[in-house]
Symmetry: none
Amino acid sequence: MSTRVRILGTGLIGTSVGLALSRQGYDVTLWDPSPTAMGLARDLGAGRLATAADDAPGAEPEVVVVAAPPDVAGAVVAESLSRWPHAVVTDVASVKSAVLQTVRASGSDLSRYVGSHPMAGRERSGAVAARSDLFDGRAWVVVPHDGADPAAVTLVARLATDAGAALVTQMSPQAHDDAVAAVSHLPQLAASLVAAQLRGMSQEAVEIAGQGLRDVTRIAASEPGLWTQILAGNAASVRDVLVRLQGDLSRVVEALDQVAAGGSEGALEVLARTISNGNAGHALIPGKHGAVPTAYGIVSVVVPDTPGNLARLLVDVGDIGVNLEDLRLDHGLGQPFGIAEVAVVPSAAESLAAELVRRGWRLHG
Amino acid sequence: MSTRVRILGTGLIGTSVGLALSRQGYDVTLWDPSPTAMGLARDLGAGRLATAADDAPGAEPEVVVVAAPPDVAGAVVAESLSRWPHAVVTDVASVKSAVLQTVRASGSDLSRYVGSHPMAGRERSGAVAARSDLFDGRAWVVVPHDGADPAAVTLVARLATDAGAALVTQMSPQAHDDAVAAVSHLPQLAASLVAAQLRGMSQEAVEIAGQGLRDVTRIAASEPGLWTQILAGNAASVRDVLVRLQGDLSRVVEALDQVAAGGSEGALEVLARTISNGNAGHALIPGKHGAVPTAYGIVSVVVPDTPGNLARLLVDVGDIGVNLEDLRLDHGLGQPFGIAEVAVVPSAAESLAAELVRRGWRLHG
């Protein structure tokens, strides 16, 4: 028998969970306070609508996924624990201590509750933006509190894996909230605050923006209602990381004041350190397969810009017996050729380079 | 006769200008204090090396493009104005008032100088990262000062258009510096400061990051040396926008303090307004001078992460008879496969996709 999952809330995340689990053969039933949203999720293939028969003894959900907004998630979890006395209940809210606190205050059977947080989202909301592959390759944090039933934890972790998550990791509620304050809530606020400075600028001035501004502010299109709940639900942790940011920002402003007033070596050093500290932080963000980027050996090869050359290069790399770890192509339209940056394990780079030259390839740099 | 252009400085921007103008039939001569960088730019097709004959009467450059680092650009412009007494001289530095000030202080013939700023760049530097299409679809700001010869302004604007810029706009030096403080220098600092907060976090905590952090911090990989010069060269304007940011940030911290202490309606309103102000600013960013210089058709193909598959895919693309315009390889977190985004001319995308599926490839999304 396939696992019976009830999804409460058919917005972006709930519907995407339904699509992903239905794809894996779970028996998914849906509910949402909005019949329209619920019907849309059903039509999209996220599951079937829950009926009274789905609550009959023996047919009840084994797992309940609460995909409600963060400020009501705790109440819905508590309600679900009492309504389905044998089900494991999880939620997907972006903040975890606040939800746990509400559930605990309700006096519910806490052993069957295991919070979780899929690290996926989009700037768009609602069932219509849902995707069955929303969680593919993403992290999903399982957040057991003290006293959670280990079997329930295992069940929620399996659900995350089945939904497509590539990295299912466990953290305590506090560790989770501190981590997302830095890797999710801070970037959101930075994007919003940077974008907000554009208001009142002339159109011609904003129009000259390049790709940097677009990348930094992409998530500034996020929904105010949802984000107010997320930030308020993680107020203490977000405040801590913002206070650190304030300190760094003050030092930059002070340095710019000094430069504007005629400059000083120390001020330039502060500016340089600000950028290089950013380099260091950026280098910690995982690249391929979630690992901290390994320093691959890079062999840069000139690829004549006629059909088939890149394929020929990769066939040669394969023939030489080296595994291609990554590939980056630099390919100017009007340029007479492109540069292929072939990433391989460091120990293989030198012999690969030599063998490619022997086969007639020209290296770059 | 084709226009004679001298490019002084063959880094990323100078070499890209050379590639783009050579493509348009300009007679481009190159110079760089580093013979290696200069030779590389020549080999890439950015132009030919300048010789004494290129400075003979009648053969002198008509336009000189100073593509030197921001802190020396002014001096090189002044030198060029005196060395080539009939040439129009422009520069491509990211800051304009500071460069103009240096040129003015030198007592040069200011009428032949017209500052400019192509709004394009990459996280990588040097001739090796240059592309002939770097400016395609981008904005290029022409920055005439009071007293610039209108014919010189027209010439520089034409050069920008010929280099591929989609939007050639004119601003005063001060208006330019204020605009880039907000649309370029602020995003850089925000990216760097956000990334810097990741230092000292556990690997497991950084590992759960989603796409939002990656986008916000992409440009945090930028070069400290170059950015120190840019920020110092625009200290007053950057300081002004940072002070506004400090004010907004303080209000958020205060609101979070109130929420953590038990909450208040007013505090939630501040958080909501922060995000919605970001929405409003984000909505001002035009979509048209965007990420992809040419609108290719993208076919996303799942590539099993075992040796030889990418080569096999490219061989198939070649067999199908479609020219690969660009290729991006995307490894998901912990995923056993990668996604290859194959860029082809739009009209070929649909049939390529169908043919790849027929050959057993799985498409993504």
